[in-house]
Symmetry: C2
Subunit: 114 residues, 2 copies
DNA sequence: GCTACATTTCCATCATTCTGGAAATATGGA
DNA sequence: TCCATATTTCCAGAATGATGGAAATGTAGC
């Protein structure tokens, strides 16, 4: 669950979401860090900070290629994230008001008399 | 896009994600605020802060019912969020390395000579 | 080795978010 | 009206996150 929260937090920031979308668009070939910085007009330090954040959660991979560091989206991890949301947070249409567990009261057990 | 970032941020916090999942589990009937506070063992002020945060993004609705305020998940907004991720961030299997636009270079235009 | 470019790390600053006690604001029942 | 309960608002302190300049590190070609 920490993994999920971290991934959500990684995408819950405009700059990082934009960067991630660029990488999705770029596909497996990916993009050099500097290229992303160009597109988003970010100073190097800020860019590096955000890319590191995305990489730390696994949503993005990086590989060295000559003088460049190429970032690319990790679709498998993204699928896991979306899968989690669909299953646990009801993104799918199977949003049936689950019946598992005995938590079938709207208000508190202790205070229902109130 | 601000809407998306806000929704992601709302879920990118352990307490709120837990609260949201309780509400998904509870279905349209929802849960009284206090009931959620009980489950998560949160002091009232903290609980209220997080529920308000979720409500502000539209992921959750609230209705007054007697002395209780009942919160419930808004599945429509959640579906929109998951839909966005699937389409723009490639959660679906149609993760084909998009070909739109002329952004088909991995490194910078200006510096490709390097 | 030296130079040029790419990226990261270091560091300080600023901004936002989280937390929870205490008081205020409902709401319902006696 | 008065009391008990439910929830929110007010407020301040603590923690975490974002930003970016400057210096350090890495890599390639001469």
């Amino acid at each position: 669950m920490t993994r999920i929260v971290d991934s959500l937090a990684a995408l819950a920031q405009e700059t990082r979401l934009k960067a991630y979308r660029l990488l999705v668009e770029a596909g497996p070939a990916g993009l050099a860090a500097g290229r992303i910085g160009e597109e988003l007009a970010l100073p190097p330090a800020t860019l590096s900070f955000h890319l590191a954040h995305l990489a730390r959660t696994g949503l993005v991979r990086s590989r060295q290629e000559g003088r460049f560091v190429i970032y690319s989206a990790d679709f498998q991890n993204m699928n896991q994230l979306v899968g989690y949301l669909t299953e646990n947070c009801c993104g799918g249409r199977s949003c049936a008001p689950s019946t598992k567990g005995a938590r079938n009261e709207t208000v508190s057990r202790a205070r229902r008399s109130a």
